[in-house]
Amino acid sequence: MIRYPRRTLLRAGAAFAGAAALGFPAIARAQAEKIRIGHLTPLTGFLGVIGSYAQLGAKLAAEEINASGGILGRPIDLLSEDSINPATAATKAQRMLEQDGAVVLLGEISSASSLTIMQVAERNKKVFFSTGARSDALRGKSCNKYSFHCDIPNTVMVNAVGTALSQQGMVKGKKFFTLTADYIFGHDLLKAAKTFFGAHDANLIGDELIATDVTDFSPYLLKVRQAKPDVVCCNLAGNQVTNLVKQYAEFGFPYPLVGFNLNTGDAWAAGAGNLSGTWPTVWYHTLDNPTSKAFVAAFSKKYGKPPENHAWIDYVTLKLLAEAINTTKSTDSGELIAYFEKQAQFDIGKARKAYFRSWDHQLVQEAYPFTVKPKDQMKDQWDMLVLGDAVPAANDPLETIYPTKEQNPCEMKA
């Protein structure tokens, strides 16, 4: 009578031991077979709004890649987190590489945070795709071999809008007043703007550096009026742009407001009727080509709203990374870098294909100036922008709008 339960107990014990020996490691192995990719982007703070879009884009790309067989036959495990600030971004990047076993990192919008992640990537000899940071300095004096830059740099945004403004006769001999975000990105953008003004006979008569947490712009707007410029130019970022645009409409100044930086998310947040002027963008959901349309359809179906440009860039980056890994059959940093440096071409949903320029790792691609649709012509709240012709023009080489080696030198240590 006693032997039965004991035997049962024994069997249970054996089963448990067997599970421990066979089952659990099997589960652990299954997890190890996933390829882990780290994704960091600001989900809070003044860039949080557009960062949330970036996260949705990356997640959609991971799902689509996994549904079509993953990379090297293994599924992607996308680890996506809020980067918060430059210091936390670096700490999280280090943890993702060291403890979570991420083979590659991507993401970021803040140029300041991107810079710290670039340093972590270099130290760990892992590839990092800086998807949304626009500071020229990241591609120039701060560049390194492990970092790739997907968004258009400040110089390109300035050139895209500047060219459109020149055609409207709004540059030569005009007095500009700039409002600039007070961190690495803004400083860098102001520098690019100054270069442009200098080269096109425009005068910069005033500039205000504005902290990223400012929500009330009235004192700055008074200074704008006191200076009496011909054109007011916004070099701000994230929520700052939205607040400025709304308050500029509130004060109703006669000077046209233009800008060298705008993300569609910030334009949507400002709302129809508040935004005006000429601005640059890297992508918009109305672009008419198969890749772009398929992405917009998939994104809208999944999330119930059209994608913003940061959703697009994180999406195409993860896609092109998967393509690179499948082509090279490797996640090794050295092999991936060598592949991209051969200037392999990628379809990123634009008329022309894009490639990473070998000497500064910039994704060379078209950009667009845009103006704002009159409110009564908008089909819905997302249909705000009228894209201008892609720059550079179709018969000019793509690199003509990008900084040259002399303008923004990058020395990568081997």
Partner: protein
Amino acid sequence: MQFEFLLEQVVNGLVLGGYYLLIALGLSLIFSVGGIVNLAHGAFYALGAYICVELTKRLGFGVSVVISPLAVALLGILFERFILRRFYTADPILSLLVTFGLAMVAEQAIRMIWGAAPVSTEIPQSFRGSVIVGDFLFSRYRLLILGVVAAIMVGVWLLLHKTSFGRVVRAGIQRPDMVAALGIRLQPYMTAIVMLGVGLAALGGAFFAPITTVHPAMGADIMTIAFVVVVIGGLGSFWGVIIAALLVGVVRGIAIHFEPAAGEASIYILMFVVLLVRPRGLLGERIEKFE
């Protein structure tokens, strides 16, 4: 010319201070009467903005800017009755924790209902643009806000100083035990104070919805400045909060005139100096229960 520009900044600062006042006054009142530091105050400000944006789509801005604070004030009843009431006599750390938690819950709730992306609304056409009075330029819309704030402040002052309601509230700030000994229950008064406080915060949110980013974390953003105003003004003083709010607006304007990069830091320097010279705040009363 320089002087005129400076003066223009001072006047603009006063207008901005009026708006800070809407948020800070309720915070100060709730603390003075209930002894509770309401970290969820910003959440009501955010709710005011969101409800206003939502209602504007159906009813227009003019109606929404009135209804939204009233709706939030009604929420204030529930807030006081079911949450705050349990913490008047408890360890202050508990009310800090519970209101902090509530602020996070509210922010996430907003994110779930309206999404992480900002929502937007516009100023009615008739209030767009600016008016020039003498040499000064004012935003038409902000003048409207200033007028409303001034009217409300007169109303609150009369309520606190010329009615029996106000007498009980002011006595309750100083000696709640004596008020109780006289057979007066402070709780209904507290409900009214919380309604008034969160309603004013919501009005601030509704007014600022057309000219600032309406996003889930907006409540957390406004809390810092509201606390600075309350700390500078001192507790228990109606005029202290008013003077502090205007002072903060003006000091910021002057700082931006001379040294734009120091604009945001200036208000914290002001707070630092005031606390060094007068730890109780400019007009803070000595309140026995907090000593």
